[in-house]
């Protein structure tokens, strides 16, 4: 039998098994679907949350308050220094008027307060935007400290508190993500291999008979492996399909903060295909794992005897 013939045989057998044992197959497929759906939901939410957090990060700025009497040239020099700095993205000068406007906007009822103070009640400042990488750079602190040595700089407010808080949230979320994701995947694999192992139990008499009438392990296992693979692929596709359906409905029906955060973007094509492939892999691995333990009471090989009549494939 050629390999092509063998593959044709496996396919036919696997499809027949799927159809004839459709109840069990359905169970296996649905289990895979549920596991992968869960993994998919998790991926989706995690990706979208990640995007939200990245947005927050990008908005964070370093504010450099300037001494009241600082000269324009000194400020321009400072701006130039900032432009040369690593991770530089943008710098903007907030003059006295803008600063006052902002304060009045943010705290309208406290506007009177400014009246009592001098002619420059709020200092001018330079708002520096940095790249995300630079913001996460542990050396950033030292550099900001060095900026403070500049005589025109009164104070540097580097959003350190805010970033620290954000950091904590991100850490918690990523930690959760890793944990839940890992456990989910492990569960999915475990469930799938449980189901396929049970299926192998279900058909162990059948397998024993095949052995007794002279089938090699290749011909016995092939169809089961293919069956596992097919179940996994179908399960994965169903998972992606239902995830997409729910995503679309959620997105079109609701405009709440929650959905906008959690369901703004669907999984990429490669993630989707990856999930389906993962299903297939899980099914295949499950099948291999569940059949590998099945040992036949056979004589231990003491010496390799002469070949029997023929070998296949």
């Amino acid at each position: 039998m050629t390999l092509v013939q063998a593959l044709a045989y496996f396919t036919r057998e696997a499809l027949l098994n799927l159809v004839r044992g459709w109840k069990v197959s359905l169970l296996a497929i649905l289990t895979i679907t549920v596991s992968l759906f869960l993994t998919g939901v998790f991926l989706l939410v995690s990706n979208n949350l990640g995007a939200v957090i990245d947005g927050w990060r990008a908005e964070s700025k370093v504010v450099i308050y300037l001494e009241p009497g600082a000269e324009s040239q000194a400020i321009a020099d400072l701006e130039e220094t900032l432009r040369q700095a690593p991770g530089y993205e943008r710098v903007a000068l907030i003059d006295v008027v803008t600063a006052r406007q902002r304060f009045e906007q943010a705290f309208p009822s406290m506007a009177d307060l400014l009246e009592g103070w001098g002619e420059e009640p709020l200092p001018r400042s330079l708002e520096l935007s940095l790249t995300t990488e630079r913001l996460q750079d542990p050396n950033l602190g030292t550099w900001l400290e060095s900026l403070r040595q500049n005589p025109v700089v009164m104070m540097v407010d580097d959003d350190r508190d805010w970033l620290d808080q954000l950091e904590a949230v991100v850490l918690v979320l990523r930690g959760l993500a890793l944990m839940v994701g890992g456990i989910l995947l492990a569960t999915a694999m475990f469930t799938i291999s449980s189901v396929i192992r049970l299926t192998a139990y279900l058909y162990r008499d059948e397998i024993a008979v095949m052995r007794l009438v002279g089938a090699t392990e290749f011909f016995i296992r092939g169809p089961f492996y293919l069956e596992g693979l097919l179940q996994g692929l179908v399960g994965g596709s169903l998972a992606i399909g239902s995830l997409w359906t729910i995503f679309s409905v959620a997105k079109s029906q609701s405009t709440s903060l929650l959905t906008s955060i959690l369901a703004s973007e669907f999984l990429t094509w490669s993630s989707s295909l990856g999930l389906v492939a993962l299903g297939g892999l899980a099914g295949l691995v499950g099948a291999v794992a569940s059949l590998s333990r099945e040992t036949l009471e056979s004589p231990k090989a003491e010496e390799p005897p002469a070949d029997w009549n023929e070998e296949d494939s």
Binding site: Y9, R211, F219
Partner: protein
């Protein structure tokens, strides 16, 4: 050629299946295996096709020691042996056709020839009309005949039949017997385990009798039915089974 040298089989529970049996069965011989229930007939056959391993002794099939055959060689041994199992052992999720044509199929025979071969073999056991049924849809005797057809389809070198007529009426038993004799005439070694004394005495040939695992008797019986030599001219007449 099947040779047993001081073969003992003790089951894990302590039950003695076979006890110190030594004998030779020449290529092409027809041998009846008899003995009370639990005497070790099935054990004897299981040892030959490697379903069980002997506790002691050696078994040689065509000169090869099957008691120390590595696992991956066993299928090739089994393909040369046709077995009619006492409890049939049909695959429930496969049709009669698929059960019977299983071995030709994995050996790479094309579908058309599989069908032809299966049909021809099933016809010989009178079951061609049930080719697409599933085992559960068959009567006991019909299942037994499927098991016989499966054992015969690949024209094995050795045929082991464990009580192949236990569920068949006398006419069908006669048909099956004639089939096995026929196959034997074409060179297949046949070991036929049976309780049917009537059948044995009518056919004759070599008869092995087991008693509590030991070979109690090994004798050549003169048969009156039709003997290996006398029948080279063609099958003897007999009433039809149906």
């Amino acid at each position: 050629m099947i040779e047993l040298y001081n073969v003992t089989k003790r089951y894990p529970g302590g039950q003695l299946g076979l006890s110190d049996v030594s004998l030779k069965i020449a290529k092409g011989q027809l041998v009846f295996l008899t003995g009370a229930s639990g005497a070790g007939k099935s054990t004897f056959l299981k040892l030959i096709y490697c379903e069980e391993v002997p506790t002691e002794g050696n078994i040689l099939v065509n000169g090869r020691n099957v008691s120390s055959l590595p696992r991956n060689k066993i299928p090739y041994l089994r393909r040369t042996i046709g077995v009619v199992f006492q409890n049939f052992r049909l695959i429930p999720r496969k049709t009669v056709f698929e059960n019977v044509a299983y071995l030709p199929r994995i050996l790479g025979l094309d579908r058309k020839n599989q069908k032809k071969l299966a049909y021809e073999t099933l016809r010989q056991v009178g079951l061609a009309h049930r080719i697409n049924a599933f085992p559960v849809q068959l009567s006991g005797g019909e299942q037994q005949r499927v098991a016989i057809a499966r054992a015969l389809i690949n024209q094995p070198e050795i045929l082991l039949a464990d009580e192949p007529t236990g569920n068949l009426d006398p006419e069908l038993s006669e048909e099956i017997l004639r089939l096995l004799l026929d196959i034997n005439l074409r060179g297949t070694t046949v070991i036929f385990a049976t309780h049917d004394r009537d059948l044995i005495t009518r056919v004759g040939h070599r008869v092995l009798t087991l008693r509590e695992g030991s070979l109690a008797d090994d004798r050549e019986l003169p048969g009156s039915f039709y003997s290996q030599e006398a029948d080279k001219t063609g099958p003897a007449p007999s009433e039809e089974a149906h």
